[in-house]
Symmetry: C2
Subunit: 144 residues, 2 copies
């Protein structure tokens, strides 16, 4: 079968989007984590990320290498990881989005622990339009 370009199916194309999301997800999670660790500890090492994501340092190393190719971070062998301007911007955007989702969940009455977990999973799948709405509701405070 040929790779269906624009299928005549009833489903427009939401799946494409879901899949593309996965590509970006990792980068966003990592720059966000790096930014946080940088703020809290002054420097960010591979080990820190490995601990943070509960994965092996090997996985982290490989991903960081890709982040460097994408010009999101800068690193030298055996040296700490730093964010580029581009990386910082992405980190900030990710953190803000994360925050909005988290506060939104709190606003609709989800407990803090659950909200923290769900925000992690949800944040990458919220369109700008929905995010905007989430923000409004979060700012409106508690929901009856």
């Amino acid at each position: 079968m040929a790779p269906p370009k624009s299928s005549t199916a009833k489903t427009p194309d939401p799946y494409r989007r879901t899949r593309r999301d996965h590509t970006t997800e990792t980068a966003e999670d990592y720059v966000e984590a790096i930014d946080g660790i940088l703020t809290e500890q002054g420097e960010c090492r591979v080990v820190d990320l490995a601990r943070h994501f509960a994965v092996s340092h090997v996985t982290v190393t490989r991903i960081v290498a890709r982040l460097q190719e994408a010009a999101l971070v800068v690193t030298e062998r055996y040296r700490p990881i730093q964010l580029t301007e581009k990386g910082k911007k992405l980190a900030t955007a990710s953190r803000e989005r994360h925050e909005i989702v988290y506060r939104f969940l709190l606003a609709i009455g989800i407990d803090a622990a659950t909200a923290a977990i769900d925000a992690e999973g949800i944040e990458h799948h919220v369109s700008p339009r929905t995010l905007k709405r989430f923000g409004e509701i979060a700012r409106a405070g508690q929901l009856t």
Copy 2:
């Protein structure tokens, strides 16, 4: 580094969960799609799924094989795909969850098209507790 079992990190474990989700996501999406196609067309072929997800038939074939190993579907070579009882249950649960998320998004004022797309991405990352709350809000109708 050792594979960090229960890290002392501040982050409890939300990442584990996010990752485990990915494992189940595909199965849920597929049984849900199969169920829908079965309802609409009476039978579900590999081609139908390929069109539905906008991927090649090869990808579908491999995934369906795994679904069969997981006892979610039954198939014979060159024959249509059928759901097992287990598969039907999972499909129903997935569809219900999907519906709740979708209607919830509508209830908070998201337009139908955006809600459809976002529901796809979000549904797999909503905890039971949050889903319950989503359902309540969806049933409550429009939100001011």
